[in-house]
């Protein structure tokens, strides 16, 4: 963000720097958001690959904890970029005038959607600390599922702000569709969602005596979807 601001100060953002500043920050926001959505599917894919090629490392979900740890910073940076983006809009585009902002909000659908997206992401950013996570307990997860509808809204915002015939939003739309579609497929196949299971498995692992078996079997099963016993076909809590 500092680099972007510096480029703005130095007039290195082309002929219409206001537009460029808003556009670039918006692009970083959506990219970070997509990145955060890609983490879980990426983990699944990597586990599958590692098992296929017979690597010892990487078959277990816990081998990818470092990857999962990237999710929070990515999500947060999506929010921070969106805040920067909205701030640039407010300061440079409507020059801090509330009346003008309201007029613009009324006139431009894509803007209202952008603002809605931003305020949807806000509580997620605020509850991203460990303390908040503890405090919210079981409600944290449902709350953070807000990111799914928000990513759809973000894509809508981007597509509506683009002119007709401008495919600007398509790659983002494709990525979001793929990543959310993956989750839907997994959920449909397992009945209750591989993703939740992962979380529960991790929790189980922490407390249950059959922890070793749990992760090993589950992982092996994930990596061989055709095998009976895979959670996609059968939902069991502790294998």
């Amino acid at each position: 963000m500092a680099v972007l601001l510096l480029r703005y100060r130095l007039d290195h953002l082309g002929v219409n720097p206001i537009e460029a500043l808003i556009a670039e920050s918006g692009q970083w926001a959506i990219l970070a958001l997509i990145g955060s959505l890609a983490i879980t599917p990426a983990k699944h894919a990597l586990m599958r690959v590692c098992t296929r090629v017979g690597y010892r490392f990487g078959r277990r979900a816990s081998d990818w904890n470092w990857l999962i740890r990237l999710r929070r910073p990515l999500g947060l940076s999506a929010f921070l970029w969106a805040a920067f983006h909205a701030g640039a809009y407010f300061v440079l585009e409507v020059e801090g005038e509330w009346a003008w902002l309201l007029e613009d909000l009324r006139d431009k659908r894509h803007l209202a959607i952008g603002v809605a997206t931003f305020f949807g992401l806000l509580p997620l950013a605020l509850t991203s600390t460990n303390a908040a996570k503890k405090r919210l307990g079981k409600r944290w997860k449902p709350l953070h599922r807000l990111v799914y509808p928000m990513s759809i809204l973000a894509v809508l915002h981007i597509d509506l702000q683009a002119k007709p015939g401008d495919p600007l939003a398509w790659p983002y739309a494709a990525a979001v569709a793929l990543l959310l579609g993956y989750r839907i497929v997994v959920r449909l196949a397992t009945g209750r969602g591989q993703l939740e299971r992962d979380g529960e498995l991790a929790a189980d692992r922490a407390r249950s005596p059959c922890r070793g078996a749990t992760t090993e079997n589950a992982t092996a099963a994930i990596c061989h979807p055709k095998k009976p016993g895979h959670p996609i076909f059968k939902t069991t809590r502790c294998l």
């Binding site: 002929v15 431009k108 002119k163 007709p164 495919p167």
Partner: protein, 304 residues
């Protein structure tokens, strides 16, 4: 004034902007008189307009690196590079339809026949930005007069080049190609309606619509069609490109109107390229005095 064509000008011949600006002040007055003599003088005809207070010419770089030209790309900053390979020679414009005398004219011929003059106009894009551009061109009216429009000619339709090989944006159906625009015959005959072949005293760069484009300064920029190959006089209102795609935002008339909020938002303000603060958008882009006569007696709703 330098009017040659590519492969064109040695760097040493290019007038530096500063010198150019000084020279321009002299030329402009003379040019305005010249065009006034050329034209039949309808009651609303006015001398060529000046600048609004605070208007400053945009630089060559600003004008030639930030171009809406979907034939190449929706990315305004990519257009200058992509348009570089467009072959501009030979190039003819065909005038046909409801006229007594159909003809085709080469661009070189056009430039020779119709004294090219400096014309400084503001250009206001529907996207909410504007520039002040020193075009080089001549009113469209005498060219149309040469074709002797019949009494059935009520609209003038302009068609741009279709060339999928060089205009790579046309390989996608982002818009229905070729790009088409139109004016009423009265609008087309207005002295401000200009066929442009140059910029800053030099040949028009491809990204700005070479070799010949239209400039209708009181309308949103998309009406000012680029790289024209045909001008057609017709009886009924023709379909026009952006109007087909998104009629709520791209009206047929599309006169700059800060009071009208279109589907993509209001047009009350604009970013003047090169300035960091917004400006208020002027009705008819500041050319109201000269053009409102065209719309007298017309219903508000009818002239979106």
């Amino acid at each position: 004034m330098l009017i040659c064509h590519p492969p064109a000008i040695a760097a040493s011949e290019i007038t530096p902007e500063a010198v150019y600006l000084a020279r321009r002040r002299v030329l402009f007055g003379a040019a305005a008189t010249a065009v006034a003599a050329w034209l039949p003088k309808p009651s609303w005809a006015a001398a060529l307009p000046g600048l609004l207070p605070g208007d400053r010419l945009n630089t060559w770089r600003e004008i030639t690196t930030y171009n809406n030209f979907y034939e190449f790309s929706p990315d305004k900053e990519a257009v200058a590079t992509l348009a570089g390979e467009l072959p501009l020679h030979p190039w003819t414009v065909k005038i046909s339809g409801e006229v007594e005398h159909e003809f085709e004219i080469g661009v070189d011929d056009l430039i020779r026949r119709f004294a090219q003059q400096e014309r400084i106009f503001r250009l206001r894009c529907v996207e909410g930005w504007s520039m002040v551009v020193p075009w080089l061109g001549a009113s469209l009216a005498p060219l149309l007069a040469l074709a002797r429009p019949t009494s059935r000619a009520r609209y003038v339709r302009f068609v741009a080049l279709l060339d999928r090989k060089h205009m790579i944006g046309q390989r996608r159906d982002s818009l229905p190609w070729p790009y088409t625009e139109a004016l009423t015959i009265a609008e087309a005959m207005h002295p401000y309606t200009t066929l442009v072949t140059g910029l800053y005293g030099k040949p028009l760069p491809p990204q700005n619509g070479a070799p010949v484009r239209l400039v209708v300064p009181w309308k949103y920029g998309f009406k000012s069609i680029k790289s024209i190959v045909a001008i057609d006089l017709v009886e009924t209102r023709p379909a026009t490109t952006w109007n087909l795609v998104a009629p709520d935002d791209y009206g047929f008339f599309a006169n700059v109107d800060p009071s009208r909020a279109l589907a993509r938002g209001s047009h009350s303000r604009e970013t003047r390229i090169g300035e960091s603060r917004k400006r208020r958008t002027e009705p008819f882009n500041g050319y109201g005095d000269a053009v409102t006569g065209l719309y007298q007696g017309m219903d508000e709703a009818d002239r979106l």
